[in-house]
Amino acid sequence: VVTWAKFAAGRGLPTLLASSTIAAVLCTTIGVPTVVRAPIVVGFIAAGPGLALVRVMKLGGLPAVAMLSVGLSLALAGIVGTAQVYAGLWSPIALLAILASLTMATILADPWLAGRAWDSTASRLRTQLTAVLVAVSGLLLLVGADGWTFGSPGSAVVVGVVALAMVAVAIASFLAFVARGSFQSLVVASLLPSAAMPLIAGFVHATSPGAATALALATGFGTIAAVRVARGGGWGLESMCAAALVALVILIARLLPSASGLVGVMLLVLGGGTWLIATGGRRAVGLAWPLTRHRGMTEGDRVRGRATTRYVPGRRVRMAQPARPESPGHDEVRRPAATDLRREIWRLPALLAIALSLALWLSGLGGIDVERMNDLGLISVLPAQVILAVFVLSVSMFASLLRREPHGLVPALHVVALVAILFATPVIAEGLPAGTTTYLHSGFAEYIARTGTLAVDLDARFDWPGFFVLTAAITQLAGLDSALAFASWAPVAFNLLFVVALWLLYRGLGLDWRLAWAAIWLFELGNWIGQDYFAPQALAYFLYLAILAAAVAWFRNERPRVEAVARILRSIPALGRLAARLYDAIEIPERASRIPPPEGLASAILAIVVLFTFVAISHQLTPFLTVMALLALAIMNHISIGRTAVLLGVIATAWVSYATLPFLSGHLAALLAQIGQLGRTVSQNVTGRIVGSADHQLILSLRLGFTLALWASAGLGVLIRMRRGQPVGTLVIVAAAPLPLVAFQGYGGELVLRLYLFSLPVVAVFVAGAVFREGQPVRSWIERGIVVLALAIMSVSFFATRYGNERSDAVTPLEFDAVSAMYDIAPPGSLLVTAYDAPWKFEKVELYSYVSISQEFVTGNEAGLVSAMSSLRYPAAYLLLTRREEAFGEMFSGLDPTAWDAFVAKVDGEPRLQLLYRNDDAALWSVVRAAGP
């Protein structure tokens, strides 16, 4: 991994990125089988554009690169896709073209983006190629531009304003070019009118916006080329360009399926291939390597016979040939010293422990019988090997953290194995995504993919469509039938992303490596909340962590204490001294992490804004929790980006007050009525949830007890850290920032759960910090014993608390078959009825009316049910009853175990219901309508 990472960070990365970009475009256009296409396309959309951008951001560090690569890639895809949908221009292929062009342009134009001198030959060449690539992508866009229309006057106005703004920026850039000769200004001046042209064409009722775009592109890039030639620009990197052109031209051909177009494409492909062969394979492969890097030699290198790489901006450098080192004899080969061996050999038991725990886990997976689960959930059928696997892994991790020297790889492998065991266990055992909401979210994405619009009248979540649009794009481009193909694995993927963001956050706070890993471990074992399934809040939570990590790691004030504040606090009568002491305690500054250069910081601000924009258009709650955390940190002077926090607040509130009007117009009064209802919120969130069967109540009590114990331990941890003189300030502020929300919102009885999740990263640090001191391993055997005992308890409690609802959450293949059969049978417009909630709505969500009849089910009133289903408003009506609803009724409504069978028997005996389908886990009936007159 380390070797690959070093390779990727240097020569290999641009090549890899360019190859994956071309592969993704080719896979999408030439009909590659889904099994190959899906991983390539999903991989590219999930990491490609972001990785290309991060490469020029100068932020450094593998965790930062990994976090921002995924975050930016997904956010950009989601934002562009959402813009397409709102403008009535939904086109996944155009979205891919935009992302591919952005990636290629960033790879090739990084000297320009990084603000280096444009006079560099390499910079000129790459900018030239960038221009060609952007031109090709513009051609793609213009194909889609013909006949563009707008869904509403509002979207037309917004697009018009954007077009005019682009033209204004272009004029300003051109003036800057005239005044200063800045090449980047010229590029902006030339490109923006091209992009704005289809929009302008819409204004002037041009018959062909596409033709107007083509003209503008030709003018823009002609200008660039002319200036470049006039200033002595050369030609190069042709092969790379040719390869990209071939890929993109094929994409055009797909959009222009005429015979002449195909012939033209074939000629271009043949020409490009000949060009590639003529220029040579070595050149083709090496083209993506930044040309500003030349292999030269320092005097020291010459002595050692080793070449180094360094930047030589702005001029050509004669390549120095490294001196051939003398071949060392056998005896001269450096052998590891004994101390090195001792240092390295400790990894062996840790790696064996990981292998052992994985073997235990795999051996236990086969013994899970989902059908036998009781109201205690997954733990009732979980083989002991799986729990033992977590315990062995935890003890091995703890032993790794007792080492003196840090080694990131071993703890990282432990964490990856832990995430796999904790979150992949139900995925493998059950086979299908758990929870009906996953099916609904998949259905939302299917609706957007099919119609290119938002069903805001159907569900309020369409007012925050970013996640669903992103899912729709990925599903369509990957050639998948439904997001259900990958939705099961969402908890595994999201938790791995959480780990990366948490590592950057903790290290950014200056926490010791042991404490950081221990807190991550606790976070995962304490993550029973289950908000990491296939849902907008899961991705938004990762982006929240990423934004927080970026703010804390790169913009933290080393001296947050403000003397004026301390003075004001001291002046308060009676409480002044205590308040001032508390302020001083909270304001103990943490160690600052490495600060990137100014260009890196500016890039980080832009990245934060992009990440947040996606959060704001994807989820209702997370944007405000993010803003509250950043504002609190800025007000307390712990971070220096107060204006950015305000900016994010403006984005969040602007989205709510403009884009979510369909939701607000019906719910605003109810939302405002919740303000100040603190008691109601608490009872709705805590006491109101403890209902159901005895076993289920036991699980709920366990969850409550675990949460309270964790919070109490965290409180103790705060006191211990303050007593030791260790910093708590930033963490306390982050944990406390969302609390005022309790006074404003109940969030459907889930607010306290969300607050637990948002406090968990901080709580984990304080609990772990009670044992792990900064800079030294745990030495006390008593403390070690307590940790091992706690790990044993948490290994069990995790499966009980996290998967306590699994009996009703799990969806069996037979249940899914029944739902699929229902969609095959039921004509559009039908009424679909079930007892509570079924794994449905994953397709054609708007074409049916869905109703739950829990009241009739609980009271055994099958006659009332049939009457309701006989309404002539619907062409047909169907009743679906599944195994999971029996479980749901028993677990959450406390129904007698015989009630389900009795109700099904009544339904079977009802003459007005006709059985259409039945298997072991589900049955489907239709209402028999009386013959008409």
Binding site: G151, P153, A156, V157, L199, G202, I605, V650
Partner: protein
């Protein structure tokens, strides 16, 4: 029914309602506010010669926009409640 940009602008102009006005003007003002806030933060971070003076100019523009923004949001919400 579909709309071209021209038709959209024409409809908005014809409507001449407070809602249309607040939507259009509000969207432009918020866009401007977002851009200025971003520019101000970037200039502060990069701290190049001349950026300080430019930052002060931006601050002069930002102040009224920051005051106007909550007003726009509150008025829109009040309209919704009516």
């Amino acid at each position: 029914m579909t709309w071209t940009i021209t038709a959209g602008v024409a409809a908005s102009t014809r409507a001449n309602s407070f809602a249309a006005l607040s939507s259009t003007v509000g969207a432009i003002l918020i866009g401007l506010l977002v851009v200025l806030l971003l520019l101000r933060e970037l200039r502060r971070i990069r701290a190049r010669p001349g950026d300080r003076e430019a930052g002060e100019v931006i601050d002069v523009l930002l102040a009224p926009l920051l005051l106007a923004y909550p007003l726009i949001v509150v008025v829109r919400l009040l309209l919704l409640l009516q």
